[in-house]
């Protein structure tokens, strides 16, 4: 475990209990007569929500670090693979069909479909003459963007043709991403998938290091580009797909988190994945705690809150990049 992992693990140890105590109803751990049903609030509302924030944040953080390593670009985001929009499309289909109960499954099916499509594209680009050197990653990224655009357009169509105002409202709210009212059921769906996804990304980590020198040099170091791509599709598909399936679209975490971690490491992608998972967990947990305690009439959606933080951060990154500091 490197220094960055220790720092964010320590931060998580501090944030997690704080998140359990914070909310519209504050719980004082030292009070002998706290709010009624405090144990119930902790066990059934706060704890699953906090665990889910950790799980989703960890998945998005690790996926972001892997994606930036793969594309050799600090502005890359796991959303570029189009898996999140595909998962969202699956979820929206469940609203549209009135099968709200099947939402996580439908979202996972959407993510799976996206992963299968990308695997098909990967097979074609990596079998390009010359091993697809140079062009493979660019072609694949364009395929991911195409998938994201297609899924986005179909989602917009589903919203336009929503069968009822109620379904329309549910779809729009859900797309903004939130952890409100999530239970242990969502945790049991997402946690194993995200853990498996992070494990797959960890397997791919050293190959991502080799890409530091470019695709040809990576191949000369024994990296099999097709295998690496399949690992990334599975890893990012599981982490991002599982997150969308239980919480909707939560953007910018994958983009922002590796930048918070990178200065604390020697910047190799393999040294970023675990600390980015921990930092992602901290960021989503902190953001979800903040939206819970903000004095607003209705709770601010987590996806909106993170985008409000992430968009200016993205602009700051662009300025830094222009100044050659990335």
């Amino acid at each position: 475990m490197n220094r960055a992992s220790l720092i964010f693990a320590a931060l998580l140890v501090v944030l997690f209990p704080l998140s359990l105590l914070a909310g519209r109803v504050w719980i004082d751990p030292f009070a002998s007569n706290g709010p009624a049903n405090a144990a119930l609030i902790l066990a059934e509302l706060r704890a699953p929500r906090a665990v889910l924030a950790v799980v989703i944040g960890a998945g998005l953080g690790a996926a972001g670090a892997a994606m930036q390593g793969y594309l050799r670009n600090p502005l890359a985001d796991p959303g570029l693979f189009g898996i999140a929009p595909m998962a969202a499309l699956g979820a929206v289909a469940s609203f549209w069909l009135g099968a709200r109960w099947a939402l996580p499954l439908a979202a996972l099916a959407g993510a799976g479909l996206g992963m299968a499509f990308l695997a098909l594209i990967a097979g074609r680009t990596s079998s390009d003459a010359g091993g697809g050197a140079g062009a493979g990653i660019a072609l694949f990224t364009l395929a991911g963007l195409m998938l994201a655009s297609l899924a986005g357009a179909l989602t917009a169509l589903a919203i336009t043709l929503a069968p009822s105002p109620f379904a329309l409202s549910e779809i729009v709210l859900w797309l903004n991403g939130a952890l409100t009212d999530r239970s242990w059921r969502e945790v049991t769906i997402a946690a194993p998938l995200v853990a498996a996804g992070i494990a797959v990304l960890a397997v791919a980590a050293r190959s991502l290091d080799a890409l530091t020198l470019g695709e040809t040099a990576a191949r000369s170091l024994g990296v099999d580009p097709a295998r690496l791509l399949v690992l990334l599709i599975i890893g990012i598909g599981l982490t991002v797909g599982a997150g969308v399936a239980v919480a909707g679209i939560i953007g910018f975490v994958g983009l922002v988190v590796p930048h918070l971690v990178r200065p604390l490491t020697d910047r190799l992608p393999s040294h970023l994945i675990l600390p980015s998972a921990l930092a992602g967990a901290c960021l989503v947990l902190a953001a979800d705690t903040i939206v819970r305690i903000l004095p607003l009439v209705t709770e601010l959606r987590l996806g909106i809150a993170l985008a409000l933080i992430g968009a200016p951060f993205f602009g700051w990154l662009l300025v830094r990049m222009r100044r050659g500091r990335l």
């Binding site: 290091d209 530091t212 000369s220 190799l268």
Partner: protein, 246 residues
């Protein structure tokens, strides 16, 4: 022995290496020279097993290179691309340690040896963005050396280096060859090939047009035919300079 037999390489539908046959011995520096677009880099990639031939085969000690696993191939052949773009501002030591990836170990002793061989010990913690061009070239070669490959294939490693750094780097490659490693290097500077290579392969439009000792392969008539330039060699063996013109 690294050998190519009837090797043909195509890129974008064009034949860039045409029916090329050669057998290279370790412990020597072999220079590949030729005009722009002659197919030198494509040939080097094919010899490194990084470009699938359209015809023929590359063999390493009698075994087909294509039959080796990527890892086994990477352990045997270190490839140094021309001025690669380094994506992340990693430290010198981290970059050199990437050379151990085919072995899946930390290879501390090998990394230390590579840093020492290229006089990089004092720079080990420096980010690569803060290196000069000469230091960067030494670091990239050290990355290859850390992998302890039997063959080093380098694509124009001296490009963009000043005279002193060119000589420094070629001295390192000579030391590698003297240590028993096979060194194949694409060069543009014919004088460097003449003075430092043990064997020179001249490529023109994808075909091998001259092969042999530097003085034979780079004879004025070959230069006139391939580069379309009249030139003659001045000076003593090992310190020759090319004079252009009649």
């Amino acid at each position: 022995m690294l050998a190519a037999e009837n090797l043909t390489v195509t890129r974008g539908g064009q034949v860039v290496v045409d029916d090329f046959t050669v057998a290279l011995a370790p412990g020597r520096i072999t220079a590949i020279v030729g005009p722009n677009g002659a197919g030198k880099s494509s040939l080097l990639l094919a010899l490194a097993g990084l470009l699938e031939p359209a015809g023929g085969a590359v063999t390493l000690d009698g075994a087909a290179l294509a039959a080796l696993t990527p890892r086994a191939r990477a352990q045997a052949i270190g490839y140094l691309p021309q001025s690669p773009d380094i994506a992340w501002d990693v430290s010198v030591e981290s970059l050199v340690a990437l050379g151990r990836l085919p072995w899946r170990d930390r290879g501390t002793a090998e990394v230390e040896a590579a840093l020492a061989a290229l006089d990089l010990e004092t720079l080990r913690g420096r980010p690569v963005s803060q290196l000069s061009g000469g230091e960067r070239a030494r670091v990239l070669l050290a990355r290859v050396l850390a992998g302890t490959p039997r063959w080093i294939l380098a694509d124009e490693p001296l490009a963009a280096l000043d005279l002193a750094h060119q000589f420094g780097l070629i001295a390192h490659l000579t030391a590698c060859a003297q240590g028993g490693q096979g060194v194949v290097v694409v060069l543009h500077n014919l004088a460097l090939a003449m003075n430092h290579a043990h064997r020179v392969l001249v490529l023109d439009s994808g075909r091998l047009v001259a092969d042999g000792l530097p003085a034979q392969a780079l004879a004025p008539e070959v230069i006139a035919k391939v580069w379309g330039v009249r030139a003659r060699w001045l000076g003593e063996a090992g310190a020759r300079a090319l004079e252009l013109g009649e």
